[in-house]
Symmetry: C2
Subunit: 282 residues, 2 copies
């Protein structure tokens, strides 16, 4: 069993019921997702405030520290304590964060549902990353993944306005599913869980409901995952980074449809997969 | 004629054509939106890097400085020069930004398609804002706005994966339409244009394709706009802030449908508007 820091297991309401009036003046109620601040303190020093749904605050905090490269190893984390009564999380590290001043000085406000501030050079690590050339994804597994997301119980189905991210094994088994008001938070929470469980990315598939912007592709690459799937589209920089690191990028994944943009050699086409369940693509 | 700083008029490609393979192995091309860094220098000091589509970089820069409350008045800005050859914009101010160290120290990573780092206290100004109580929006005007967005020529229609924001007059005339890979950029660009043109928000309507998260509501409030419309949904904090400042929040605006969440007294119901163009709501 690998090392795990001491973790709280904080929980909080993820949806709220509110009154609405529709176009005919009819009063009803709907559920909307929570959105709350979570201020991160590392060794009693305030680092950042994340706006989050609140479903996985410990994993989010760990994944944030990991993806921002503020903490290099899970072994360096002693404890993560979330306290929703003060909307904050206290992280205790073994040796502190070296050069924290310098490393949090450079701000990049990223795209779209952006990470916000990616401390340090956004592209600095990209050159060092190589994803496994020989990883393969079967078309039937891709469909299994899309279908698993479709049938997944979710805050989105109840309240809308959240993004979902999921990690799958290379044979299409769901490992984690995380939702957040920001897709950047959802991917950070997945990174945090992978850290806790000692999982590597090389034989995994990452799915997101959000767009494949540069930051999502960069984070996927940082996590070492060769496959990135989305029901949405991509951007020029997402595409460029994926080409650079040799990631397989699948956009517009719905039903049996998808558009494979980069890393095309990794898909194993299975024409028969188009007919599974009697569902055919026009 | 009000004061305008000296502005560049930089332009750059907003879409790129890329090769894709679909589920049947068919090769084709699609357009994807640009996403590029724009590093903001204020008086030769590096402030932040924004990831943007690149359609309105001067207005985006001004709106960013405005919405972050880094510059208080357009009169303080001498010039804004964008140079895409180095992906940067140079802003010259009359008197510099006071306390820039302190005011850029506090980082909030906002929700969803987050602004990223909203310098300073996210909620600090909210208490001081009051929106005009007597502003009214006719149901027919709301439909005119939704229809104007539907028929608007856009990068979204060509390439997807961008958010659009628009400013309308209270009788539904389109004033500005801006798209960006991040909705936070699109709203900042609108704020920049309003600044340049000396427009106030009290008699305007703001439309966004993106979700009504706290940051979008806060920015709308900062711009003094009483009406915020979205084709998407809202979050608990967006809802809470809207209630606090007395903003009228309309979610799920598509066709003749909408859900009015807050500031309900401002809508003028017009049952006959449901039948315009023979289109009826079920």
């Amino acid at each position: 069993m690998s090392y795990r820091p001491e973790l709280s297991n904080a929980s909080v309401n993820l949806t709220q019921e509110v009154e609405v009036v529709d176009e005919r003046g009819r009063l009803s109620t709907i559920f909307i997702p929570a959105e709350r601040p979570l201020t991160v303190y590392v060794d009693k020093r305030e680092l950042v405030t994340l706006m989050t749904l609140g479903g996985a605050p410990e994993a989010l905090t760990l994944g944030y520290l990991r993806n921002q490269r503020l903490v290099r190893s899970i072994d360096d984390v002693v404890s993560v304590h979330v306290d929703w009564s003060v909307d904050s999380v206290a992280v205790k590290t073994r040796n502190g964060i070296a050069d924290i001043e310098e490393r949090t000085a450079k701000k990049v406000v990223t795209t779209g549902c952006g990470q916000g501030s990616v401390f340090g050079g956004l592209m600095d690590e990209i050159d060092a990353i190589t994803l496994p050339e020989d990883a393969r994804l079967k078309q039937s597994v891709l469909y299994k993944i899309v279908d698993a997301i479709r049938t997944q119980k979710s805050i989105y189905k109840q309240a809308g306005s959240v993004h979902g991210c999921a990690l799958f094994s290379s044979d299409g088994e769901l490992i984690y599913f995380v939702e957040d008001v920001g897709r950047h938070n959802a991917v950070d929470a997945i990174a945090g869980r992978m850290w806790l469980d000692g999982l590597q990315g090389a034989d995994k598939v990452f799915y997101t409901t959000g767009r494949l912007t540069s930051e999502m592709v960069i984070k996927g690459a940082q996590m070492g995952i060769p496959f990135l799937l989305s029901r949405s589209g991509t951007t020029q920089m997402g595409h460029m980074v994926a080409e650079k690191v040799g990631m397989s990028l699948f956009a517009r994944c719905t039903g049996k449809h998808f558009l494979l943009l980069t890393g095309k050699q990794r898909l194993v086409f299975e024409p028969e997969a188009l007919n599974i369940d009697g569902l055919r693509v026009a």
